[in-house]
Subunit: 445 residues, 2 copies
């Protein structure tokens, strides 16, 4: 489960120099088994409950293999039209599948693109917001230290990284306070924006989260959107893990207000059975994004691009080169069908809710946050040291893997149900093992 | 070869809505054959001579399949130690294989990391340079519009994009003039830096290229490095395609001076038989890079990271998540061996040099730039329209695919020999077809 390798252990088993002559393939496979596998933390184990999942499936893997084999470079429409058009098509499908607003459809003024990760998607959204707020002058003249962006104290750290990369600076990234459910407080956001405006700064961007990494908190998108509208700020919605739940109509209320967002993203590589990397990113105004990221040197000029009749996805993200990632996503959607995907998501949520009920009914444990979907934040009541001990022992046992966070200053265990093959028996066993380790605590009766 | 699909043609063949129920796998494969393949431009054809290659090989593809199957997330050492350690190990191997300076070894103050593309590597280098030059204050306070970076007029457009992203702005990216071989003029660079300093600006970064995209020009790294040293600027070397040639000692002179670089990158996914994406990026001072990109939220804290004994590659690039990309690179190196790789590179260069000789000896054609390696820039003497016609006819014939650039204002054809399976017969046939189309020109005798 969690690799028990010591730092440097794997490297020390590898030869210091590359081979001068080619080696037979079975020598490679033997080394994979002997040297590499012991150093793997098994993200695809049904007993993996750590972080957020990064799940996969047979059809996803085969779609990716096909992408590797075709070896297509999709930087421009013309460098492989199918790579661009299948991607646009599948991202349009997903707008419907997830109940996202029509403005994200490619037939509207918006559109979707596959990015590698939510970090990159957030960076692109922040850049487009920066440009829109500065009348597209930052790209030309550089940032001037007056542009300000807003997240909550619970927003993913990638937004902080994006602010650093974009030349905005972390001092200009405001961490808005959260309520008792760890959700952004719109009133605090509004006050901060007003204060910044009074100070002559240029507010440009707010990131709300559907399911924060730490505790799966749901920011009140609709209320935040009102504040954004009032001040003309770009509203980005990060639904990296929990966005997948929107494939089930009964969970869509968790992202009420998404119809007011300027951009949205979720990761099929987290909870939708599509192997890493696959982030889906939509914008309501594709011109803002393209104007932010477009460059066109002579050696990439071509008739299709000049005609304006095609999408060149290289202008929708940081990189120039791109692989044919929509294949795996297409394979997954067709293999499972919408109902098949719904079935698995519902099952994961059901298992997680069952686990939450066990915690709620156990006198030694408590829930540390609401559990709207498939992440349970919980802790043993004996305090931080006890929880650390439980976690360390579980993780080194090889029976399961979970990770932690801090909520209200207290060490909190996180258990996320989302691996493709996780079934009731795995979650039951996890709870059993957690209680076993709790019972071994020195303080236990 | 070059897909003949019309804009919208592939999409129009796909169903408007995703399937409600799962479909059998053979239905997917039939659609791949019927709907997708006609929309593919075949980058892996031996008759692909366009852009720069994006080649691949069986072992690379199988290594990537293994990566998809393991589904490992290598953001931290602890999330799969083998993913980090194999990567560090293979990048150390490559330092030796390519004759790069020892300061890039992980055992020194530097080290290597796999990025997706040269665009991302250049962005990271530029960010580290920006931070170093501003005493790590831009990350905090944002860019102030005074930071200046330097490229040549021939540098890849990704550097312009990086300057936009990094909040530096294209107005602060100086395009230094080139000499008659399209190589950066160190004297012009020095003058510009001095002028910028006099103007109170903060020069931070120079990008030199080993083999520009347009014409495969070689910037004089050693001379540029002297200028950088004098003014304490970060020197980045972009060897995206041509870096692979350094595996052959006889081509290493093309990057003389690389021992003075602060960062260097090349793409095994271009010319080293490793399927996309795989960019290798080294820095001489890993602390500068990590200090630029590091963030550490509670939910990613772990003992191994705190100990300082391990590398967490998430701090070496833009994204947080990362796949196990070193597997494919390891497979390629072990399958071919160093001598096998050298053999194929030498063969490609030999074929390209043969082609250059044919051009040189043909009275209707001329070389448009030096041909140090595997890219030939050439043109028919009848002018732009004639060259455009030749290229369009060749590309729509399906016999081969090549692209163009502009050099000294003139349309120039580019033929790059680098696809894994390109043999003498393919290059011979390409030259035959080019002459055939030339002979059909109205102006032809």
């Amino acid at each position: 489960m969690l690799s028990q390798a010591k730092p440097g252990e794997i490297r020390s088993s590898l030869p210091a120099n590359p081979p001068a002559h080619g080696e037979p393939f079975d020598a490679l496979l033997k080394d994979v088994e002997k040297l590499i596998l012991p150093g793997i933390t098994h993200w695809q184990s049904p007993n993996f409950f750590a972080y957020f999942p990064c799940n996969a499936s047979g059809p996803g893997i085969l779609g990716d293999l096909l992408s590797s084999g075709l070896g297509v470079q999709g930087m421009l429409w013309s460098t492989s039209p199918a790579c661009t058009e299948l991607e646009t098509h599948v991202l349009d499908w997903l707008v419907t599948m997830l109940g996202l607003p029509e403005k994200f459809l490619s037939s509207s003024a918006g559109g979707g693109v596959i990015q590698d990760t939510a970090s990159s998607a957030a960076l692109c959204a922040l850049l487009a917001a920066r440009e829109r707020a500065t009348n597209y002058s930052s790209n030309k003249k550089g940032c001037d230290g007056r542009v300000v962006a807003y997240v909550s104290t619970q927003t993913h750290s990638s937004l902080q990284k994006a602010a650093m990369i974009a030349g905005i600076g972390v001092d200009n990234l405001r961490s808005i306070d959260v309520d008792e459910n760890f959700a952004m407080r719109p009133d605090a956001l509004a006050s901060q924006i007003e204060a910044d405006k009074r100070a002559g700064l240029v507010p440009c961007f707010v990131c709300t989260t559907v399911g924060t990494t730490s505790s799966n908190a749901m920011d009140p998108i609709a209320d935040v959107a009102q504040v954004c509208r009032q001040h003309n700020l770009w509203l980005h919605v990060d639904a990296a893990m929990s966005g997948t739940a929107a494939i089930c109509p009964e969970f869509r209320h968790l992202q009420n207000g998404v119809e007011l967002a300027d951009s949205y993203n979720f990761n099929p590589h987290k909870w939708m059975f599509t192997n890493f990397d696959c982030n889906c990113f939509w914008v309501a105004d594709r011109k803002a994004l393209i104007q932010t990221l477009s460059i066109l040197p002579e050696y990439l000029r071509n008739q299709a691009t000049e005609s304006g009749a095609v999408i060149d996805y290289r202008d929708w993200h940081i990189q120039l080169g791109r692989r044919f990632r929509s294949l795996k996503l297409w394979f997954v959607i067709r293999h499972y069908g919408v109902e098949g995907l719904q079935h698995h998501i519902r099952r994961h949520v059901e298992l997680a809710q069952q686990f939450a009920a066990w915690v709620r009914n156990d006198e030694n444990f408590e829930l540390a946050a609401p559990t709207p979907l498939n992440l349970i934040c919980f802790r043993h009541k004996a305090g931080d040291a006890a929880n650390q001990t439980i976690m360390d022992r579980l993780n080194s046992s090889g029976d399961l893997f979970l990770t932690h966070t801090k909520l209200n200053g207290k060490l909190t265990l996180r258990l996320c149900v989302g691996q493709t093959n996780t079934q009731a028996k795995h979650v039951e066993r996890a709870w059993q093992r957690i209680r076993e380790e709790a019972n071994k605590l020195p303080s236990a009766a």
